[in-house]
Subunit: 360 residues, 4 copies
């Protein structure tokens, strides 16, 4: 199929905050038409505008207001070319499996299948090479055209981008310590209680640290020589500490890292990050940012309110790049947690898949 | 002189936010009577209530409302036994020197003399042993009874408390990486602009990182064998990354550390922190906390709004103590940045000095 | 019974935010001993420290940590002299009735019985004269010693204090328009979602406006000549608009009002508010504030963070008293919504009841 | 001159927050080209990117980064067709007068000339009929093509829109009481100190209340029969109480109002607001919103974070339209304070002027 055909898209978990972000982004994307919206039984049967407590700063797109929400049964989604899942992990396991087995192209934002060895865990500006395992995935699961690609945890998304650029240029990394300051939108709605976060910090994001520590290794790794499975890195050690802060959108991450080999200079690091490019740019994908990494020399940047919209939320901003007295270099990065960190990544993964002919 | 006499106290920089905190704490402290208030020429001559834009949640103590503010000339402070300085660094250099040379006991919260080798940089629950250099300080500067003791940067204050406990029990540390989430009150008034911090993080606290990295080494170090100077640690490497967050009071710090020798178990670390005691407690100093380190097992604590007042702001709360995949252990601590991190430390330093006969 | 005996107190709804505030205040009050803690079946049987997600800035009092929470069955509360209810309205209706009929002295913070004509709706610094209906309440309900007193909605509590002072001095008011800016703690936990209130205002507090508009009339009214029922005002019109704002504690209220008769001067109004006193002060009740109304002449006060703790949260701060181009006078007031606006009022109501011999 | 020519625009006060908003909006507006940027002597001579601490969420437009900032001397602005002033009131008086006398078309956001009787105070979706005094303004001041139009205070901008719609349809209003909850961006940078607004409200916006109370009368009034001066309303009384709240952008206003004559029904009011249209829409001005007033029936709207971008910041959202127990109707409105409330209004005023041939 031509990569230029407008694809019919379904959004599962459409009433949640990730689902709402999918809808905002898809409504601005010429490659997709929102065809179906899926949610829980409680919402099914209602027009979307009525089923949803809309929490985006952007107005709800007119085109979806009257779409009748369906339950998440694959039989109801005939005519959809791609299925985006913004489902909670509690529902995603069964539902996504059902859609996959029904031969849909599934792009999931949930954690359930991220670590499955035949499922690409793909940050689209980092490791589209992992799509190589899709054939093996289909073979192993007896599928003809269905397949699943997941995107990473929101905090992971920001971290792997500069790490990938550095690893490609300067060779393997050995140790990374990262501390995050994560926005409340990552927790959905109602999510974080205001009494927990006004004039306060919560020094825990449940489940986040092990996810980050594992996902980085898979994303920065490769695929096996027979392209049957993903091959996570073995020799990189990652320590993540995750905090929730009173910011609406945009995760800030403070990173110290050590190279396995001879470390490059700070200037070389800056240049490497600035020059980093990736395949989705070369292919001209609609959601690919012009600049994958926006390197700032202003000493008090990146800041969530000022930088989260860089590259329409698809760029990672990296600043405060300086020597680390303990490791080799430290820096602070910012990623839009619901765009590159969630819905935007999923959509760009689908654009890539379409361009490369995976969606059939 | 008896340690039980009520001491006449002066507060320099009395109209600023640190000065205001000094006044709140001193007004509740039976050991001191507020005798004189010093500030800039602009405020001098006015009653305190009129010279000050009061920003504390506690009401301004009645006893200070009508005290006429003086300029910071030592000749005007006759009758004062101790001088607390909450001056800005821009003024503190000359003024504190003048008071010292006028034979006052000076307890400074400013950075100017912290790294002078004959001046104790003392977090009173950590290293009162550094008072040993006071005699040498007097000798070197030709003083009879005057001396100066500084307290540390607010972020340093929180960090050194558990590090000291661990170092005392398990031997030297080799590497520490710390990321802070610092409250706005640390920047004074007007300080941080609201446009910079509402729905935002500022990933820089100007000047803070080098201060933390240097002060930790001095505080955790000892004094020379002839008690003439302080001897900072040589073999500990510290990397600090400092962020400003939308929290009013209370600095949160995420720490990963490595021991030089064999690491203890997580349980042994918890027990060590819980059992840590110090000299100001043994002496029964009024401001000494009952528990120096409050160890919490709740997985989402410490939190600034809930824990900053532990031990009336003089305890450090440590939580999330767990293994670090990169170093040996990681944890999150909370310190009240204007109490143990500033005015409270200074006052407890003075209480200690009085008990030990330094104030003559 | 002597008013000086320490009374055994029960707190119903003890695990909620109002219940937590009751516990903090009672633990500092020499007149009461916390005897029993009641909550839902889910919490019953657990030690309080385990049953509760503590959200107060003050540490949980040691004395309650190990009290085993009970269900809200009056039979389990033998030995309690007073029962404080911080129950949600959904539970309060039945439970409070059961305790009342079991002959307990019930002090309720819930809305359920506030408008019952034989139940005092009492802001203790305003209308303790409404206790006159207690005899009739007992008679009508066949009770010997049990009775119920409610306190008002948190926003009402702040508003009626200056209105009462003005009405007493200058005669009836005719019209009041009030707009509130209410703190999140009023909504309990988890209460307001952070996505609804960070960088945001919610222009609705569900159910609040009709409560305010009705409660003001009852509180500012009197009792019938035979002391059988409360007699709400007939001729005052009140319009309330209620907003939720990103403040932890402290409701701000902007008031414009019209006197029925000749309006006093602004100076006379200020003097009247400053001089206002009430019966709980005269009786020396422990929780009565020294100054009922704190009038401020600073043009940018009251402010929640700076003024909510005036009078230990039992004073109302009134500022910006100035002519109104539409009515006679306008001003801005601040009330601590969980102290004078909730638990503190309830406790002071009980102190008053004890002093006056109602608790038998 | 044709209204379709692209106009060369200057922005005075270009480095401030209003100036930054002008730049963002102008860079997206096909009718204008940013030609010159003016600021204080301190900034003059520097490239804009270097002279400015950029505080917008939108990235600084590439086209302005290298424009060299000029001082505000009219002689330096040759070639500019329109001059937008975002100057502080302290500078605007002299500078705007100088540009006016140099025959520029001046669109000012400052307060200095708003109440001058021959200067239109124009909210472009409300009272473009006031442009009728421009001829008299030129005549009185001896100008050939220069003229000045001001826009209103940010809070006034929101209020007058529904008032105008109601007055046009239902006849004069007699009394309005309004309480505002204003965003921090209205105070510029650094503006409000974070210690004043985190977990806090400031119940005063200096100078704002008298401005609102006077500007409403001028805007809702007409022009004299000879079109020589503006004629403010005489019979409307307005009481404004202004608060600063922790919101970045978007002023919320709670309004109660009384009609001079028979009041319409709530439904008629809603319909009137929904149907309101204005001249800039009819002319097809680029910045005119499709819907001037967005009426919402959701009971907890408008909210700043969700509604401030309605109509690209040029619509006013009105909700909670309901009867008022004291006056006739009350409602809550939201206006984007730096778009319709400042730079956006000024730009739309200029678009209107161009369309109508005032810019020559």
């Amino acid at each position: 199929m031509s990569s230029d055909r407008v694809l019919n898209a379904a959004v599962l978990g459409a009433t949640g905050t990730v689902g709402q972000r999918f809808i905002v982004l898809l409504s601005q994307n010429p490659m997709f038409k929102i065809h179906s919206l899926g949610a829980s039984e409680r919402s099914a049967g209602k027009p979307y505008a009525q089923a949803t407590r809309w929490k985006m700063s952007e107005q709800m797109p007119e085109a979806v207001r009257n779409i009748v929400v369906k339950s998440c049964d694959p039989a109801l989604y005939e005519g959809c070319d791609v299925v985006f899942s913004g489902l909670d992990a509690s529902a995603a396991g069964d539902v996504e499996k059902a859609f996959l087995e029904s031969e849909f192209a599934v792009f999931s934002n949930a954690k359930n299948y991220r670590m499955a060895e035949d499922v690409p865990l793909c940050v689209p500006v980092v490791n589209t090479d992992h799509y190589a395992v899709v054939s093996a995935q289909r073979a192993a699961r007896g599928l003809k055209k269905g397949f699943m690609v997941t995107n990473s945890n929101c905090s992971t998304s920001g971290l792997v981008v500069p790490l990938k650029a550095l690893q490609d240029k300067f060779g393997p990394l050995s140790r990374v310590i990262v501390t995050t300051l994560q926005a409340i939108s990552g927790a959905g709605y109602p999510g974080v209680a205001s009494l927990d976060i006004l004039d306060n910090i919560v020094p825990l994001v449940p489940g986040e640290e092990p996810k980050m520590e594992a996902e980085v290794l898979k994303i920065l790794g490769g695929v096996s020589s027979d392209a049957s499975v993903c091959s996570p890195l073995q020799d990189l050690r990652v320590s993540a500490t995750c905090n929730r802060v009173p910011v609406v959108d945009g995760h800030t991450e403070c990173v110290s890292l050590e190279f396995a080999g001879e470390p490059p200079s700070i200037d070389a690091i800056k240049q490497c990050l600035r020059e980093y490019t990736c395949e989705v740019q070369a292919l001209g994908c609609f959601s690919a940012p012009a600049q994958v990494i926006s390197v700032t020399d202003e000493e008090d940047r990146p800041q969530p309110r000022l930088d989260r919209n860089a590259g329409a939320g698809m760029s990672v901003t990296v600043g405060r790049i300086r020597p680390c007295p303990v490791f080799h270099v430290r820096f602070t990065l910012l990623v839009h947690n619901t765009i590159l960190g969630a819905a935007g990544a999923s959509i760009l993964n689908a654009e890539y898949a379409a361009k490369k002919g995976y969606i059939v």
